[in-house]
Symmetry: C2
Subunit: 382 residues, 2 copies
């Protein structure tokens, strides 16, 4: 793909390599380039919890996520706009993707009332009444100055009946059209459509067709990671990703564990977001090359080794497992700070390892090694 006008570069994705269905590429945006596959740390209310943005940058993260639902309630999209946008507010000059608020209205808002036009709900913070529609969600994301705006959609929890999923998907497709109409495109900015349809092949196909007829700069896969087993998620990806445009980025929303992401990349996904590494960092769970560790466990009391000897984050380059364990045992904030940093660093390193393997046409072997190491919860030998 060529940039047609260098003075106003369009948002686009270029592919560097492919190994079976797995893709290595680069997102080109108004706020810089991002190598894919990529994991986007979640910065819900304008902060990746327990990290400075300098720390986030140091892990190699190229793009972060903000939550429209949270930001519209506090501090408010108008305030963020008045202060120069979310990039300046949170000190992140790279690209930012904002979700549409649709998913979180359904999972966090109180007294939700859904109609054809949109959703009315009460804030989980103060009970105040709010309304989101495809138009207002798109406008809020514009005020936040999101590099990538998501379509406003509705997403039923699984398991659900075929009829429920079909009805919801078709509503989301009508909303996608309204979201697109409301979207003010600017050079290097993008809007992604969200493929819905649960685990039903025909509904996913119908959704992809509806979205590609509208036309977006990228396509997300929604409605997964909502409680279904991993095999169901993978089988849904198997029949969904190959229907999606090959020249546009594909984003699997809300996923996941290292193993989930590896399997999804093998099935053609390019982008991920998930609260797991940050949330785990605050509760003492470490993601490592050798599986997960509970840093609160007494086995770490005397351990002079780093969390992950293959990691170069601050926690691993400067501190022992014994120290991290001590911080969690003492309920010190620094425990959450260091372990969140480590987990995000691990997620970013994993993306780099996988990307390199795709480029070297070696992903099959690399994936086998990664999976084998994850099942070895042993102390690493130093």
């Amino acid at each position: 793909m060529q940039i047609t006008d260098m003075t106003e570069p369009k948002f686009h994705w270029t592919k560097q390599a492919q190994h079976h269905n797995a893709r290595a590429g680069t997102l080109h945006t108004a706020h810089g380039d991002v190598q894919t596959p990529t994991f986007m740390p979640v910065g819900t209310v304008g902060t990746v919890k327990a990290m400075t943005m300098d720390a986030v940058r140091s892990t190699g993260a190229g793009i972060v996520l903000g939550n429209t639902y949270h930001l519209m309630l506090r501090p408010g999209a108008e305030l963020v706009h008045e202060l120069g946008g979310l990039h300046k507010f949170m000190d992140w000059s790279g690209p930012i993707l904002t979700d549409s608020g649709g998913f979180q209205v359904m999972s966090l808002g109180d007294l939700r009332k859904l109609d054809e036009d949109g959703v009315t709900f009460r804030s989980h913070i103060d009970g105040s009444a709010h309304r989101l529609t495809p138009e207002s969600s798109t406008d809020i994301q514009y005020l936040l100055d999101a590099t990538i705006t998501m379509c406003f959609d509705e997403c039923p929890a699984l398991p659900a009946t075929y009829e429920t999923i079909a009805k919801s998907m078709r509503l989301s497709m009508r909303w996608a059209e309204r979201s697109r109409k409301q979207f003010k495109n600017r050079p290097g900015y993008a809007q992604f459509g969200i493929v819905q349809g649960g685990i039903e092949p025909d509904l996913r196909a119908e959704s992809v067709e509806a979205l590609t007829n509208i036309g977006f700069e990228g396509y997300a896969i929604g409605g997964l990671a909502v409680g279904e087993p991993q095999e169901q998620m993978f089988s849904t990806l198997d029949f969904t990703t190959h229907l999606m445009p090959i020249d546009k980025p594909r984003y699997l929303m809300g996923v996941g564990t290292p193993d989930d992401m590896l399997g999804a990349i093998e099935r053609g996904v390019d982008m991920f977001d998930c609260v797991m590494p940050t949330r785990a960092g605050r509760t003492g769970r470490a993601y490592t090359s050798h599986g997960t560790l509970n840093m609160k466990n007494a086995c770490h009391i005397h351990d002079p080794n780093p969390i992950d000897p293959e990691c170069d984050c601050l926690a691993c380059s400067k501190h022992s497992r014994a120290y991290i364990h001590h911080l969690f045992r003492s309920k010190e904030i620094l425990g959450a700070m260091l372990l969140t940093w480590h987990n995000i660093a691990y997620y970013q390193r994993l993306m780099r390892i996988i990307r390199q393997a795709i480029i070297e046409d070696n992903l099959t072997q690399t994936a086998a090694t990664l999976r084998s190491n994850w099942t070895h919860h042993n102390q690493p030998k130093l």
Copy 2:
């Protein structure tokens, strides 16, 4: 003062300048030099709360404090020793001063039982029984590898009767002698005696004489900042510091506000520690060139200005008051991280400003300007 043996440099303090009673100098230690006056951030259990040690270093802090009472209970001095000492454990290669545990046993421990030999108490964490004596406190500080070890002492709360203060001070002097006997001195390491005697001139004089007869590398002033008014603290310093050796560092324990420290420096004090800037950073109070600010106040909601325009810390160079306010309102950990960083940065900058004024023989004017600015709680003009 000359270093007598360059291969094994002694701990010593050199004076660069004096303005009336205020001194600018340098501490020379096994773990590097520290310019005085100096403020020591408190790293109670091996972490300056909510800060990485890289952040602490970036503020210009030269020496930090650890708490014997906390560290002996968790993770334990033997464990810290086994892992290479407190410097390595917490990633601080500079000097560390540890208190003796005496003060905190009295303020935090349960079921304290004091006798001539020492103190028996129960841990505030798990109720387990422990004993501290001058010998065991000194040994624990040795295991922690403290650059500066403090004598084990007893400190009654004020107000107290003359008899109570006299009896307590004389016990502390006998304990100081035992602490000194137990101390294993090494090149560049030090032990400080602690002057007690409440607000009684004759008791303070008796205490100074007892300690200087024993002989220490430095002298602390204990028993202040325990609830007395500032004038009483200053008047006690007025008749205490001029009794103390002029060629040794003087450390006022547990002090204080910027105004407390300025007044104490004017009275000949060189070193301080206090939890205020770190604790305030977690509760939303900012120390600035223009007095304190409560970052939770609604007046900051729209404010695009930094906390302190004269500050170059991460919080002030990258973020608005509106953002810091938003983080506290949203109970985000990053709020505590950024504001603690700022407060420690302010304390360190204040020490540099005062030191420079002493060197330039200009402290009287600088102190007047600082005090005048602190009473202006206005928004700074940008």
